[in-house]
């Protein structure tokens, strides 16, 4: 039976030189999704990708891609055959021209898509005769992306694909990803610390902090579940602990209590009502707020 998840990790741990880079990471990436892997620098995003691609061995826990164990050698070869990876460094040969770089790369991949190669060459406005060395950062990214998209891979793993790009270039890269997923039905797993781009194109997200996923799920589901609830009292706010399960955070400040809830708003409101507040406000929470709040809690 086909695995419903293209990537699945459970309690994944990785210790490098006495540092815990991953501390029990659990992820489930559904087939056909654009999965945003969001976290601050040093949260463990690149390490996770290396483990998935067999470039680093996990200390413990499980990592599977296409249902194959990422830490078994034969399986790992198969995973890499079916996966395109664009690293943060954009591994390209500086002495080659754009055209030579494409001609050099294509023969390694039997399913190379000449049609896509031509399309992205035009769309990205890449100069075929220019040396890779002379490309701007944005052009390098677009060339690396072209090479990754034309491989005919089922899974695209991108490490910070838009880092250092201006807004126009970023939009171009995001559009290429959206178009590609729509046309080819592949799965994209990309890391970023740019919340705006994640909320724009991702349908699933994980927020990772210090080696652990602190929030995971379908983005629309998170937007529907998370609420900020503000209670204003006539006098000093009562110092009670909220017992409803969805309460993530409570801040008490004079006559005002602010709650962040991740689920069960109705139940929390019932509990709040019993405290006789003078007023109650409920507002949606943006991904940026969820990110900042969940990271803050960890700290």
């Amino acid at each position: 039976m086909a695995d419903p998840f293209i990537i699945e990790t459970a309690d994944l741990r990785k210790r490098y030189d006495g540092v815990d880079a991953l501390r029990g990471l659990s992820l489930q990436v559904p087939a056909g999704s654009i999965y945003g892997f969001l976290g601050r620098n040093g949260a463990g995003k690149t390490t996770t990708m290396k483990v998935l691609l067999g470039m680093a061995r996990p200390t413990s826990g499980r990592a599977r891609v296409f249902g194959l164990a990422a830490d078994e050698q034969d399986a790992s070869v198969e995973i890499r055959r079916r996966t395109s990876f664009v690293s943060d460094e954009k591994d390209l040969y500086n002495y080659m021209t754009v055209e030579a770089m494409i001609r050099f790369t294509a023969p390694f991949f039997p399913r190379w898509r000449v049609d896509l190669e031509q399309r992205y060459l035009r769309k990205f406005d890449l100069p075929p005769d220019r040396n890779v060395k002379a490309l701007s950062r944005g052009m390098r990214t677009k060339l690396a992306l072209l090479l990754a998209l034309c491989r005919g891979a089922e899974l695209l793993i991108l490490d910070e694909p838009t880092s250092g790009l201006d807004p126009a270039m970023t939009e171009e890269v995001l559009q290429a990803l959206v178009t590609h997923v729509a046309g080819e039905g592949m799965t994209v797993f990309f890391s970023s610390h740019q919340i705006v781009e994640v909320e724009q194109i991702a349908d699933h997200v994980a927020i990772i902090d210090r080696g652990r996923a602190v929030v995971t799920g379908a983005l629309d589901d998170l937007r529907e579940r998370y609420r900020r609830i503000q209670l204003v009292f006539d006098n000093e706010a009562p110092a009670v602990a909220f017992r409803a399960p969805g309460v993530e955070r409570v801040q008490r400040n004079g006559r005002v209590v602010t709650l962040l809830s991740s689920a069960g708003t109705k139940q929390i409101l019932e509990e709040a009502r019993a405290l006789n507040p003078a007023s109650v406000d409920v507002v949606p929470v943006t991904l940026k707020e969820i990110f900042l709040e969940t990271i803050a809690v960890e700290n």
């Binding site: 654009i34 178009t179 629309d220 409920v282």
Partner: protein
């Protein structure tokens, strides 16, 4: 057609898109029987996830606002449900306009009105009974 979901608003993008399609029908920008943009071109144009557009269209089909014809695309429903929706929205608009006008007359600001609506929709009616 002008659809402009705001990914940073905290409201699910598919819900924003659904509202915008309904609004286009309500204003007459989209008429019964007319074709909507294809899911893929729309995702590319708005640079949003294709699955999100598909979800919005599926939900709109479920609400009988649009019809998805296999291979042909999405069309605004010509049936009574869509008509009724338009009528309901027109009636609703009038009610909201009157309510907003009365609130303005009492000195309630736009931002406060927005929050009142939001609280009401979040099911706060029963908990707001303590002078809120």
């Amino acid at each position: 057609m002008l659809f402009r979901p705001n990914p940073s608003s905290g409201v699910p993008i598919y819900l924003q898109l659904m509202e915008q399609v309904k609004h286009a029908i309500e204003t007459g920008a989209l008429r019964p029987g007319e074709q909507l943009p294809g899911m893929r071109p729309l995702a590319e144009e708005l640079v949003i996830n294709p699955n999100t557009v598909a979800k919005a269209y599926r939900e709109l089909e479920h609400e009988e606002v649009i019809e998805l014809r296999h291979g042909a695309g999405a069309f605004v429903s010509g049936n009574a449900r869509a008509k009724k929706l338009t009528d309901n929205l027109r009636a609703g608009q009038a009610i909201v306009a009157a309510a907003v006008e009365r609130l303005h007359a009492r000195g309630v600001t736009d931002e406060e009105i927005r929050r009142l609506f939001e609280a009401e929709l979040a099911g706060l009616t029963r908990s707001g009974g303590h002078g809120g």
